[in-house]
Symmetry: C2
Subunit: 158 residues, 2 copies
């Protein structure tokens, strides 16, 4: 059984480094400025594999001594979502880091209600089924939200 969710003992510092590196690359490729504030917010989002809300980010920023207000956070989030460096989880009003921002994808999100972690899958069967269902009724897809809530493998075991 392959678990989408990262191993308990994994070196999360490497997740963060990798995410930052990819973000730099994507921003550059899009001629977008990965400013200090955007980097701060992005790094905060990547502190865990959980989703984090805008106001949790705001608190974290203020905890770091940054004088930020809600619009600052929402602007950074808008930028990061726009570049698909992070994704918004609609059912949580929260955001989490994408670990494959360099390839276009319609992701599906598995959300564990126990440990709070979010994992992104890109499952072609699911995508195909969605496209087929839409095609059958003449619906032109522009965006999809697929969020699956429950218990991750670890949490289900306990």
């Amino acid at each position: 059984m392959t678990d989408l969710f990262p191993d308990k003992g994994h070196d999360h510092g490497r997740c963060i480094d990798s995410a930052l590196h990819q973000a730099e690359t994507v921003a550059e490729a899009n001629n977008a400025r990965f400013t200090d504030m955007r980097r701060r917010v992005f790094t905060l989002i990547w502190q865990s594999h959980k989703a984090i809300t805008a106001y949790e980010l705001l608190d974290a920023l203020q905890g770091e001594g940054v004088r930020a207000q809600p619009p600052t956070v929402y602007r950074a989030l808008e930028f990061l979502v726009g570049l698909r460096l992070i994704h918004r989880i609609e059912s949580l009003n929260a955001y989490f880091g994408c670990d494959m921002p360099d390839c276009e994808h319609l992701g599906q999100y598995f959300i564990c209600r126990n440990c709070g972690r979010v994992a992104e899958a890109v499952n072609e069967d699911m995508s195909r089924a969605v496209r087929a269902a839409a095609g059958a009724v003449g619906f032109k897809i522009e965006a999809t939200t697929i969020e699956i809530k429950g218990l991750c493998h670890d949490c289900a075991a306990h």
Copy 2:
């Protein structure tokens, strides 16, 4: 091509009547009281095939001369969602009426960004794909949110 969305010229009064009738039945079967306030909210939701927000419902109630406050609306919504008489669209923070409340289902929602209508599908291929993807990673599903935004057949044609 079968369109999920109702025909422009359909008799919407029949949609409302049918929904009300089904709701009565479901409530009774669940030993739940379909009170006046709940019926009002339910009927307002069914005024169209669009999703409607809690505060739009509140305004509509007040427009009818009902002295209602937010909790009144949210309580009615909670009740109706609980019985699956309506569904919440997470990506819109809005609610719309289910037209098959008597059979358990994990629905998928097509949302037209142009006309605002929402249509519910129960597509076994999609459901199966979701279950398979979850099974493959040992994830225990408790709830799914599948929302597909774009243009309905009618709106895509114009």
